[in-house]
Amino acid sequence: MEKPQKVLILGSGALKIGEAGEFDYSGSQALKALKEEGIRTILINPNIATVQTSDDIADDVYFLPVTPYFVEEVIKKEQPDGILVAFGGQTALNCAVALYRAGVFEKYNVRVLGTPVQSIIDTEDRDIFKEKLDQIGVLTARSEAVTTMEDALAAAERIGFPIIVRAAFALGGLGSGFANNMEELRTLAQKSFSTSDQILVEESLKGWKEVEYEVVRDQFDNCITVCNMENFDPIGIHTGESIVVAPSQTLSNREYHKLRSIGIKTIRHLGIVGECNIQYALDPHSEEYRVIEVNARLSRSSALASKATGYPLAFVAAKLSLGYSLAELKNSVTQTTSAFFEPSLDYLVVKLPRWDLSKFSGVQRQIGSAMKSVGEVMAIGKTFEEAVQKGLRMLDTGRRGFVANKPEPIDLADLDRLLSEPNEERIFAINEAFQAGYDVERVYELTRIDRWFLQRLYGIYQLSLELGEKRQQGGLDALDTDLLRQAKKSGFSDQQLAVQLLGPAEVKANEMLVRARRKALGVLPVVKQIDTLAAEFPAQTNYLYLTYHGTENDLAPETDKSVVVLGSGVYRIGSSVEFDWCGVNAAQTVNEEGYKSIIINYNPETVSTDYDVSDRLYFEELSYERVMDILDFEAPQGVILSTGGQIPNNIATRLEAAGAPILGTAAARIDEAENRHKFSSIMDELGIAQPRWSELTTMEAIYDFVKQVGFPVLIRPSYVLSGAAMNVVSNPQELEEYLKLAAEVSAEYPVVVSEFIQEAKEIELDAVADKGEIVSYAISEHVEFAGVHSGDATMYYPPQRVYVGTVRKLKVIAEKIAKRFEISGPFNIQFLEKNGAIRVIECNLRASRSFPFVSKVSGHNLIKKATKVLLGQHVERDASELVYDLPFVGVKASQFSFTRLQGADPVLRVDMTSTGEVGCLGDTAEEALLKSLLSVGYRIPEKTVLMSSGPLLSKVALLSAAKLLVQKNYTIYATHGTHLFLTENGVASTLVYWPDELQEPNALTYLRERKIDLVINIPKNLTKGELDNDYKIRRTAVDFNIPLITNARLAKAFIKAFTTLKLQDLSIKSWKEFKAQTEPVL
């Protein structure tokens, strides 16, 4: 096979539920693999926060939507001779299938490298897939589609009970359920037929084990399975929602190899070249199996398998797509053995998903066949106990492990349901069940989680009781070395030991006592390497973890001068790939400055946890305990906290108190910025305005404060029911309504109330300072007015509508803050501006979410500069001011995943709900905005727009946009108030009724009939009727995949952009081409 000269790679766009950071990792590896071959690489990915879109990875980057139109335009322009479509998730795959079907690859003579598109189609289409597997006698779940009751009963006869019935073409599992006999089926089928003409009668695999294999095949038909994985949660829960272990723990050799052989046979038959994932259901009572699906691309599981084994799947898959054989490639860990081998692990990994469901109002909490989690962690240990407890801490949800957590009120009456119909808290419900006296068998009956896993959890529980008994016997002094070692081997943290031995109060202080005692007893973790071959061959591997199951460190501490970079941990709403970019850039700069870099991070979806990014990678917890363990061992010259988001910042004070060599801003200053009260008094001292705020503990105090500042106010209770974390209320009724949602207001659970300034601009400053002097900065402007969380907002950089005078004032404030906090390193300030008055709302003495965006647009890499400052290098103040002369604009837009979150209210609010972001470049603000909104799933409407434009202010704001729509021959459907307003102002619109008016033409009917191309729904107020009506419109729009905008400013900007620009007007320019325009300037 001839090697291609120029290859196009499709990225996966913004992070979303079901498609997250793993594709930054796989794309980056593929690019690395091609680069090594001297192939020119072109990447299309609008996700500007990724590592793969950094300037030294692909030869050219297009920040454009990964959609057939834009990809074809890039192909037309770049004329690549090859394309890689398996490294950008489902987004890239869907796009490739569409282009293949349209004959685009053929037309431009582009060779699809790796797995042929036809094989992809064969795996994606259920019917073809089943047929292909039938051909080789591989079993899939038996299923029949029927349209009558008789046929349904007959099908069940053939398939055998239990049966699962699904209504075809019904959203959200409506009308589906399980039947154990004919009678139950009859009742169920009747119900299903009422929602759908066709139902699927399927063999139920509920309670079967779910097992996956990662299979690699080269064009010479050589096949290996790199890793197998077993789900802790049985079939019924999406693998992305499951706790997963690798390798499998409860499969016998026969089962392991039977499934392995079937995987290889299947993959050969499907003709996959590269990497794929095959999922099975395995009967827990026999060797019966069913193939569930094959993913003919790199996936979340393959990223996990890569990290779990040290086998670089994406890198190898990219090489195989160029025609190499597996045997020709080297094992990149040992460098001496071949890539044609199957890793042997001498540890196990546990992956746990992270959910953020409490951020969403109205969302269904139950987990099941659809993915809802937003991130994941991977914990490495020598036993399940050790790894699962590590993993539960890594999730950063305040849990200390499986046991010794803060007691949470669980309704015991609800316990059985929590176990059998799981939500994201199930594993803790298992602990509750043990406490309530359930034995392993009873928990098994309710959960169908293999007894082996439950036995392990039960062992942890019993050990916690044994430790608890020591509390009466003298606490720490009663603890002997054997029990301590046993607890540490079972994954107990020092904090857990503190709780069990010394009680639930003063945990952090007691943790220090446990730590001291533990070190005195010589109970220390050892450092072990991950080497792919279980120590069979010597390996120069720097991929490390810590365990208490060992007596010897695999390697000595780094002897050259080294710097530790703390990663950002689990991806969650508010912290994801952008901090990975920061961490990777920090580590690279550390190396460039002549230090060895040591990364600590535990997120398998990241590039920073690739072992070739740093000199040493500790795949470990970012807790005080674990970071100190590593610092004690390595004794580095410095520790960088400020590029890892909030998790490292949270332990700054304790690390510094323990003598850790923290680089940059002092921990005490960080604390001053993070503590609301301290920060406020410093702002007062500096004469910098803030919105007025107060922390209040009684209802009276809240009303008094509101009287002073006036409505609206921003209100932030510290103890809330789901989805009510933070809100803006505009009148006493709303305040009352809202406080009802806040479960409690008391001294223990105070409420923070802040003055809310309407129609204020929100402006951000990202900067780097050196000993209190700013050396570089970037100012960006939100499209939306304040009130939309900065992580959800759309941003212009450079700012487009901010006065020079305002910029000057911002700079003065930033300089004061930098000086006062003696900042060395990165920081971020958020400002409000209204009528020239500026207030500071927040200040973070660390890198922020927008660092990669502003760094890439301006060409000033803020992280590189910050890292140099941290290392004590002199950094010249740069010409940040000149950014206003940039001949182009960057726009960052947010990606929401509401479609995945059944029931969630898709509205922009003060609390963040977006899961990802993109950043696009344009010659004008409109162009950049349009590109970025198209990148996060918006489409230019064809003919119709539904408007319900909310309160008067937003009605006025949207008037000019409505006029533009009419000028461009769009039909506006408007709900009552909006229709009236538009009519009064001479803009034609068609009235549609609100959902609760139950009259036609009703907004809901039009949405369901897909008569509407774009929905603009601006929430009016918090009264129940309004909420319901608006909610129904928004939710229906999301469920029917109709673009929705809930913010007037964004709606206006979008309408202006698509009424002035056509798709064809959007320039197809690479990042380098944009940059070339700036060279004379910057």
Partner: protein, 358 residues
């Protein structure tokens, strides 16, 4: 759990906890990196005399299945007893969970009076064995035992059966020279329409009427099998197809006039990559051996058939013109990957061809 220790010939002493039988035992300490398949491994006669260290850290999870018979041989195990001298693991899972488990690993070991030791840093131990080579060692419970080198014993004679046994009534008559065969080899033949004559290691099979000859795996140094090599040399004079696995491959090499040598720490794992020489085809194989054929010593009419992709050692040989071939790895797997089971078909194809040519 009672305390026991593992003592190595270099003086290393490792404390651990006892499981299985609380007794002392000596042997050659070797490690296996297979992540699954302890019931298969422990009953593999090739492990006779060896104290086995498992690098996979959690062992015992799925218990041990009950005995079932298939054509008078075990359906599940690789022989009728545990052959290892002792077992060394990091973590022993006292509880187990599997639909076909009849007992725990510990109980099973105790039944055969085999000691197990857990709580050992098996990675540290493995690195030691890798660097210094396989070592003698002992698990010491209440009473000490002397070190013992099993390679000085005729292990094959110990594990080979007493008399001749017949299985199946298939169309091809195969003689299996049992130097410690794994039962899955027998199963692989019986599933392929074979009449199998299983003979002891030193049996003069040249007197028998057969269509094809098979040389089994087995423990220890191949050079101990002098009578087998002599009989084999006679068979090599003829043209009937011969297939050897593991020790069988080494015996074929010796009978052909080549030499064998002891590897530093052997190959014991389920992930050994081998390449079919002269092609782009490679296979993942199951292996368990401490000796190998020295390719350089092969006579001119023999070739290396498979090569280990990791260390280049000989993974099988074949005669240039006659239907004789062998593999150092285990095509019958059990445990391990089944990717090369087709070699049984190839061998039987040769047998059929040879019969047809007659």
């Amino acid at each position: 759990m009672k305390q026991v220790k593992l003592v190595l010939e270099d003086g290393t002493e490792i404390q651990g906890q006892s499981f299985g039988a609380f007794t002392s035992a000596a042997g050659e300490v070797v490690f296996s990196t297979a992540m699954t398949g302890y019931p298969e491994n422990l009953t593999d006669p090739s492990f006779a005399g060896q104290i086995l260290v498992l690098t996979y850290p959690i062992v015992g999870n799925y218990g041990v299945p009950g005995e079932e018979l298939y054509e008078s041989i075990s359906k599940i195990f690789e022989s009728d007893k545990i052959h290892v001298a002792g077992l060394v693991v990091n973590y022993y899972s006292e509880e187990h969970s599997h639909w076909n488990a009849a007992k725990s690993l510990g109980d099973w070991l105790a039944e055969y009076n085999i000691p197990g030791i857990c709580g050992v840093d098996t990675r540290m131990l493995t690195k030691k064995l890798r660097e210094k080579g396989a070592m003698l060692g002992k698990i010491v419970a209440a009473e000490d035992v002397p070190l013992h080198d099993p390679n000085q014993d005729n292990l094959v004679a110990q594990v080979s059966p007493e008399g001749v046994q017949h299985y199946g009534t298939g169309k091809n008559k195969i003689v299996l020279v049992d130097c410690g065969t794994k039962t899955n080899i027998i199963r692989c033949f019986l599933e392929r329409d074979v009449e199998l004559i299983r003979v002891p290691w030193d049996y003069d099979f040249t007197q028998l009427d057969y269509d094809g000859l098979f040389l089994s795996n087995g423990p220890g140094d191949p050079k101990m099998c002098v009578p087998t090599i002599e009989h084999l040399q006679k068979a090599l004079q003829q043209d009937k197809p011969i297939f050897g696995i593991c020790l069988g491959s080494q015996l074929m090499g010796l009978a052909a006039g080549g030499d064998t040598f002891k590897l530093k720490y052997g190959h014991r794992s389920h992930n050994q990559p081998v390449k079919l020489t002269g092609t782009q085809r490679s296979y993942i194989t199951s292996q368990n051996h401490g000796f190998a054929v020295d390719t350089a010593t092969l006579p001119a009419d023999w070739d290396m058939l498979f090569e280990n992709l990791n260390d280049g050692t000989c993974e099988g040989i074949k005669h240039k013109t006659k239907p004789f071939f062998s593999t150092q790895f285990h095509p019958e797997a059990a445990g391990g990957p089944q990717d090369t089971e087709f070699l049984f078909d190839q061998f039987l194809d040769e047998v059929e061809k040879h019969k047809a040519g007659k």
